[in-house]
Symmetry: C2
Subunit: 155 residues, 2 copies
DNA sequence: CTACTTGCAAATAATTTGCATGCGA
DNA sequence: TCGCATGCAAATTATTTGCAAGTAG
């Protein structure tokens, strides 16, 4: 189970298992496959069960979780970072430019052969990559279509 | 020429051609193919020739340039954005995790066929994508190798 | 002229840090 | 007990905004 794995990571690196960390972990575990969370969102969820926590504790622990590979840090160009539980499975995201909805996709376009070729050609050691698809989700497109229609009728 | 194109874009949208805008444009044109610039870096370069400018003017005009397609906005997960002249040619970047060096690469892994497949499967209209390769550049790897060596000898 | 722009200063937003106290192992 | 953690407050960094004065077209 995900929680046991995380606890083990804490122990291994000498990090203490505090109730704050457990609550933060719980928030991520309860959030599998849904929208990656911003620090603020994590904070609001944790505060429900642990009212005295400060947002600085969230930030500090997101770093720790990140270091331990428990979560991933994502950047959707919003001026803030988002975090998701590390499923251990390589994946990327669809991001709606209108409503911010994100969806994981298993698809990855980057092939081992290309990686090697670029490493050699550019003399650059590739450690990781990001690939995000931006566009409009079904719902936002439908809303937009409705809006256009009503404007056409009234205009 | 790049400058004429930009000026034309300004006129077309009713934006005025102020000396500040010309200086900012000049900085980008003089920076082709080198490191994408942060707002602060643009500011420091412009200030050399136009000392009274404020960094808020830089930000406001980066938005305008962006809207006109004169520059691209990039995000390398540094907690700030970077900007580069829009060459009109689709490309991605190598980013060194150590020194921050970036290099453009023409290679793009994302194929039209895959795009269509995902759009259909996910019912998502894809407008753009980001693909960045993170790792270590030649220089940083060499430095690291030297450091490891000297530590081994002294240790 | 006059609407778009700028510079200044102050406001926001996200994230980080110093420090005294608290608490898990 | 002892060192890692936390909460509080204040600092930092990136970016945005209000407003009066300036200027391109």
């Amino acid at each position: 189970m995900k929680e046991d794995y995380a606890i083990e990571q804490f122990r291994k690196k000498g990090y203490k298992i505090t109730p704050q960390r457990q609550e933060i972990l719980r928030v991520f575990i309860g959030n599998i496959d849904s929208h990656p969370l911003s620090a603020e969102e994590v904070y609001r969820k944790v505060v429900e069960r642990y009212p005295n926590i400060g947002i600085d504790t969230i930030y500090r622990n997101l770093s720790v979780f990140l270091e331990l590979g428990i979560i991933n840090k994502l950047n959707f160009r919003e001026g803030k970072s988002r975090y998701e539980l590390n499923s251990g499975k390589h994946h990327h995201h669809l991001v709606c430019l209108k409503c911010g909805l994100t969806e994981q996709i298993d698809y990855c376009p980057f092939k081992e052969l290309d990686l090697e070729k670029i490493q050699e050609e550019k003399n650059f050691e590739i450690k990781k990559h990001s690939f995000e698809l931006f566009g409009y989700c079904k719902l936002c497109r439908e809303k937009q279509a409705e809006k256009s229609l009503s404007e056409a009728l009234s205009g």
